[in-house]
Symmetry: C2
Subunit: 222 residues, 2 copies
């Protein structure tokens, strides 16, 4: 059974300095930390499940599920047979570097290669807090609309990857991936986009192949 | 042309006291203030448009569009011919009572009966800040999933009304309104639910009839 850990906010002087410490510690341990962000209901957990299934033969995977309260996602992830811990943020709307560091300690990453942090469902606040991840992945789902980069610019500015999820429903919601991407690239020319559907599985081959390449490059870069 | 007003966060000693002041001032002026909340892409603006169209023959309506940045929603609302102001929260993930009070001042509500505050798209932080509204309305869209009351309990606990939007797509997303409502009622037995679709218009007759009744009751209660 997974642990439920109450990671309430502690005031830390400098989140960025704390984040750098996390990043260095994870580099030292060769653990690739991924910060997964997105709105409530964007499909973070279901995207994570398909991603884990594509990676788990090659890597030892751990998951930190951050929620203000509840452990529904951790129960879902535990069923995959990967190491999981539920982090309760005590009402906080985001994870910060200190909370992440304490979560990693409790998870114990010594026997892991890749750790996913599923952040609190929120397109605003998590973007403001570097947690020390090697990769920031944000999910924009088609029902949310292709105008979201205009309204929540920071999330698209800081993320390395933009997963456009529920792409099978794009016609229902008049979601134009080209428009969404152009608006995101306007903020962040380096953002890497993938269209996929955690429901049908389409697009996951490309995303997980890219992710494996990226993890491998990181592991060998010294 | 509508104004863009930079309402950055000021530290106020007591948000609740400030909210009570807003509520009393609006009562005095007989202006019914509605705080509209929901995730990014839940359909706040499109729901607002249909609601305004149903109310604007009976009431003089004003709108405050809160966004961290951008004015796309204010431009959409202005086309309806109602008084609108764009509030820029300067990166803040929510509106508080002080920001609301300053927004109402700038909007000038003396010639208005009903004011909608479209809060920042966020299912977390806006729930924590009473802005002094007479009515708190939250939107949960079907694509977000019927488990959201379990994961974002405060929003469902503090809201008076729960609009289940995009209900025309519930089968696509296996969204069960009964389950969502049962979970919300478990937190807040008094929450008033409506199923609707801002795309097709279904359900708006019931919601706007209820809203008119509620506004009338509030205006006559002294």
């Amino acid at each position: 059974m997974f642990e439920v850990y109450e990671t309430k906010v502690r005031i830390t002087a400098d989140n960025d300095a704390e984040a750098e410490k996390v990043r260095e510690a994870m580099k030292e341990k060769k653990v690739f930390l991924i910060n997964l962000m997105g709105s409530p209901g964007a499909g973070k957990t279901s995207t994570l499940i398909r991603t884990i299934n594509a990676l788990k033969d090659d890597y030892r995977i751990g998951v930190m599920e951050a929620d203000m309260d509840s452990d529904v996602d951790a129960r879902t992830i535990e069923a995959l047979g990967v190491k999981v811990i539920q982090l309760h943020t005590g009402g906080s709307c985001h994870m910060d570097a200190d909370m992440t560091a304490r979560g990693l300690d409790r998870l114990n990453v010594d026997d892991l290669d890749v750790v996913f942090l599923e952040n609190v469902g929120n397109l605003v606040c998590p973007a403001e807090f570097d947690v020390g991840a090697a990769l920031k992945v944000m999910i924009l789902s088609a029902p949310e609309g292709d105008d979201k980069p205009l309204k929540y610019p920071l999330m698209f500015t800081v993320s390395n990857v933009m997963l456009m999820n529920k792409i099978d429903t794009k016609d229902v919601f008049d979601f134009d991936p080209e428009k969404a991407l152009a608006r995101a690239k306007n903020l962040n020319p380096d953002i890497v986009p993938f269209c996929l559907s955690a429901k049908t599985g389409e697009g996951f081959d490309a995303w997980t192949a890219w992710l494996k390449c990226t993890i491998e490059a990181w592991r060998t870069e010294g």
